[in-house]
């Protein structure tokens, strides 16, 4: 019994780290540019397909595919911000919302044209392997995804905290007007931030390709998942995204154990509602000013 709980706990934490990096992508974009990327899920699925193709077509390991997907999505995100998103930064929220729904639909449509509607199951051998840590069994695909996600999280935290450009990004998030007044290169900061956010989504997508069958329609699920995660953790907060990710990962894992696997999303949304009622700004969100 205790072993079962241990397994579920471990699995929840592992998935939570992956959710954390996805949410981090969403939250960093919001924190700096003040827009919500409703195409985030489509970008995760983009990465999922990169992971699928890399494995099924060329036999490339998932980790390498994740690095490739991250790089690809960074370039995509940087370009998208520079060409399109930039023009919408000062527009009203509902217009931004429609823009991102549009981008999401275009991405999903492109995936549908390229791969068709059928789920593409991973061919990674990792999907079927487990490793024993004491009495707990961890499946390798999940362990790998979580480990790489953890490395990405640490790398991103280090970049934001210690690099000059990371400091620029934090400054722009903190005070945009102040940033303009001291001459921060705002367009470059925004494009880079959007690229980083997209890279988090794409990298995470490739990492979970051994766990999820790639399918265009997953975009909505991942967008909602990321959205729930950052709302629970606190929109715009780095730590909040991680804690939110772990919370949702654990909620899903225990929902599947204690109730039924099909109820896991219901419980996540239930948690979201409780958070919205009790603490609308999330665990680590900034106070409304």
């Amino acid at each position: 019994m205790l072993t079962l709980w241990g397994n579920v706990l471990a699995s929840g934490i592992l998935m939570g780290l992956v959710y954390g990096i996805i949410a981090l992508g969403l939250t960093i974009i919001f924190g700096v540019i003040r827009i919500v990327n409703f195409a985030h899920g489509a970008m995760v699925v983009f990465g999922l397909y990169v992971g699928y193709c890399a494995g099924a077509w060329w036999g490339i390991p998932t980790i390498v595919a994740a690095v490739g997907a991250g790089a690809l999505l960074f370039v995509f995100g940087y370009g998208l911000e520079t060409l399109v998103v930039k023009r919408f930064v000062t527009r009203p929220h509902h217009i931004q919302f429609i823009l991102f729904i549009g981008i999401s639909l275009v991405l999903s449509g492109a995936q549908l044209i390229a791969f068709g509607p059928d789920p593409r199951p991973s061919v990674s051998h990792l999907s079927f392997e487990t490793i024993a840590v004491g009495p707990i069994r961890l499946d390798l695909a999940r362990l790998q995804a979580a480990t790489v996600a953890a490395v990405m999280i640490l790398a991103l935290a280090g970049f934001l905290k210690y690099s000059t450009f990371g400091r620029f990004i934090r400054a722009a998030a903190d005070n945009r007007l102040g940033g303009l007044m001291v001459g921060l290169p705002i367009p470059k900061i925004y494009a880079t931030t959007f690229g980083i956010g997209a890279a988090c989504a794409g990298g995470a997508g490739a990492l979970i390709s051994p766990l999820f069958d790639a399918q265009p329609f997953l975009a909505v699920d991942f967008t909602l998942l990321a959205f729930v995660t950052v709302i629970v953790g606190g929109l715009g907060s780095f730590v909040g995204a991680l804690v939110g990710g772990l919370t949702i990962g654990l909620t899903e894992a225990f929902a599947a154990l204690l109730f039924a696997p099909s109820l896991k999303s219901a419980l996540s949304y239930g948690l979201l509602m409780i958070v919205l009622i009790v603490r609308p700004r999330g665990f680590f969100g900034a106070k409304e000013t």
Partner: protein, 239 residues
Amino acid sequence: MPNEPLLTVQSLTVGYGGSTALDSVSISIYPEELLSVVGANGAGKTSLIRSIAGVVRPLDGEIRWRGVDIAGFPPWEICELGIAQVPEGRELFRNLSVEENLLIGGSLKRARARRSGNIQQVYGLFPRLLERRLQAAGTLSGGEQQMLAIGRAIMAEPELIMFDEPSIGLSPSLTRAMFDIVKMLHAKKTTILLVEQNVADSLSIGDRGYVLENGHVVLEGTGAALLTNKEVRRAYLGL
């Protein structure tokens, strides 16, 4: 007075959604001078600074820096020319440390190579900031935040520093200290645009001054002349 102005604002008009903040305002700033622009709340003082800085886009008019029209330049290019400001409300990065705020101020290409030396110079000027260098800027007192905003501007090695109401919200003794710093920077040959509601103090340290009223320049002259002007004494000094 050298004959070529460093900065000329010509017929500058700034408005927001139908209301006019500045209406055809013309002013000149000469190298190494301390220019005071005074006026009541809402006279258009902040709009003047923000349009020079490129943060607000003017509706009409020219802003010439060493003869080149820079109206419409983005703020990061204007900062790179050597125009810095100590903004109203300070506009610090509140969640970043004191030192990080200074580092960002010194990140412009024009000053980056000398950043570590400049930071030591700012700490020499404001030892309080050295004591609190790792503290978040938002946790500083009002006076300390003002020092940090000035330090952040100095880090850019500007030729022109624009001060937007530096004395606002400060106690009389801190206000005096603030004007002493402005005078000190002036003595070091930095050109200064000082925008204030505190008419008496800022005109008395200014080489020249302009009086702004409802978006218009209504008077200009040397600081001393304006201080003895009947209109100024009546409207702003209550004499």
